[in-house]
Symmetry: C2
Subunit: 352 residues, 2 copies
């Protein structure tokens, strides 16, 4: 019997609420599937920062490196600028463990109303493969002549062949296993250095996947088309920034940020991957006990899938699908209910 070691970083805001609430059902799913896991909790985040001026210890990455996987709740705090908290915790893990695939499924579940007219259960089901280590998030740039009239800030997006090829290839592989359709997102008409390069890489990699149909879409058109014709997408591949924007549009049109899971994946054994709900720390509802735990449960499903524990992954995913489809099941306010986090998880456990 395998026993996985999972690092758990509940983080800020509602992070600890959803992480703690979900752990029992996650343990159930593992037990039912005949494996076990142990969690080690790291109380890193903005409280620590306010106390000791660091989001995580200096050797934070070292401490995480031996784990089979990492689960993160949320990072972000109203009292500290996001670029401090994110650059102190979330982004260093994504980059430090070379988690170059940010995988974000967007599914319109039965029982959830899309804000888009005419869209119902099953009509939307695509996954975004977002580059997660470079691009527009590179820490390259600077700011000079501060406060003077000629002050200038430069933010450089950095695209490497290796970094681009590997995310594009991962997306092609996913498309080949799904419906065989890949949409590559660029802004080649305005960003002639980075995005024309991206297009070239897509063309190179496409040659390896003759069965996959490739569409190219400018990011502005893509944002529109996710509203106009979301049912037509299968796999999207996008840079770090474009993926960030489009996955939020995807979460919105599928009914709630509270349902959007994600994986920051380093394929292979060298580093652990990290899974997290997309929603963030949601300071406005902290402590009210109404945070939606479903994105967390779905993110655990993705974590188990990555570990090869497909049975447990499916069990968690199906429990959520099942609950959402049941009109009488408890729901949190963000998806139209009045139930609390605990009641939703309790109901979910009964469905495993």
């Amino acid at each position: 019997m395998d026993a996985y070691e999972i690092a758990v970083i509940p983080g800020d805001g509602i992070g600890p609420e959803v992480v703690d609430a979900a752990l029992p059902i996650v343990a159930d799913a593992a037990e039912n599937a005949g494996f076990s896991f142990e969690t080690t909790r790291f109380d890193w985040g903005t409280e620590r920062y306010l106390d000791r001026d660091e989001m995580m210890p200096d050797d934070g990455l070292d401490r995480l490196s031996g784990f089979d996987s990492i689960f993160l709740g949320a990072v972000g705090h109203p009292e500290v600028p996001d670029h401090v908290t994110l650059h102190g915790l979330l982004l260093p893990i994504r980059k430090g463990f070379d988690q170059y695939v940010c995988k974000r499924p967007n599914v319109l579940f039965e029982g959830i109303e899309s804000p888009l007219r005419g869209y119902g259960a099953g009509d939307v089901d695509f996954v975004v493969y977002r580059e997660n280590t470079e691009g527009e998030y590179a820490s390259v740039g600077g700011r000079e002549h501060r406060g003077f009239d000629h002050e200038t800030a430069v933010q450089s997006a950095l695209f490497t062949r290796r970094g681009t090829e590997r995310i594009v290839r991962a997306a092609f592989e996913a498309a080949a296993e799904r419906e065989g359709r890949l949409t590559s997102i660029t802004k080649s008409n305005a960003q002639a250095h980075s995005m024309v390069f991206w297009d070239d890489v897509v063309e190179d990699v496409a040659a390896e996947f003759p069965s996959v149909e490739v569409e190219r879409l400018l990011v502005d058109a893509a944002a529109m088309d996710l509203i106009r014709r979301p049912h037509e997408f299968d796999v999207l591949v996008a840079s770090n920034l474009f993926g960030d924007i489009l996955t939020d549009v995807g979460a919105q049109i599928t009914g709630s940020m509270g349902l959007a899971p994600s994986g920051n994946v380093h394929p292979g054994e060298s580093y652990p991957s990290m899974f997290e709900p997309v929603h963030g720390s949601a300071p406005d509802i902290v402590g009210e006990g109404v945070a939606n735990p479903l994105a967390t449960v779905l993110s655990w499903s993705m974590l188990f899938e990555e570990l090869g524990e497909i049975g447990a992954a499916d069990a968690l995913w199906n429990a959520v699908t099942d609950q959402l489809a049941d009109e009488d099941a408890p729901r949190t306010p963000d998806i139209g209910g009045t139930a609390g986090t605990g009641a939703v998880v309790a109901d979910l456990r009964s469905r495993l």
Copy 2:
């Protein structure tokens, strides 16, 4: 009686169709308001490029510089990469004439169905002030080690204090004249050089406008919120790229790209401004006579407004509003009708 000189560049695809169709009603509106204008037509665009390897002549900007204003149809052609056509015609005019305010109203007109559930006439009415000369569209960057494993592309976004202050100030001025609410779009949590600078500039300029309420929103959250709560926005101010993406989302949620007008404005006398429908060249419907002329008519309304011809501007805008609200009026297929471009304009003229 003023006689304005307007340069007209019909451009590619449906550009000439909508530009030519709209001219008669535009002339009517001017005549009714007691002024006249003369147009000079420049057949620049991709046909010319295919013929002579240049989108416009070398002295193109010089030739345009004496005009009171410029009207552009569309740029873009299926046979030539966009970064060639756009960098050959549209972008050099925006930059060369320092048209730093890209102004894009997004209005949900009566008679138009939003793809968003529950949104009806008048529920959405905001305007985006998009920076139009620098930022992520700067021609700064390069590509090295072409074809090798260590190939790298860099695309640098450039933000100057002058360039940022002036668009932010223009947006504050607009907000002060509208509902007094300004939303500044950034991505400060991931782009600590450019976007933290942007935030600082917004804070500086905000001090000059104590009556305007300022909200800061990350671009990913903003894309979501334009779907979740579009009725709450008044004026948005955004960088070149973020403005590009969000205005397309805005066009989509207000019912059609065929209704979205825009102005590329250089405030002051030094250079002409340029007005254009947002929709682009739409190669799929070229020559079918069904292109929607309304975005063009609304863009002319913005042009007249900029020239101070408020009467004519209002007359055009109201004719469109009136037509859309009339169930029996002809409409093009993109907004649910079966009429052609000509029939729509003919009907519109009768409403002036």
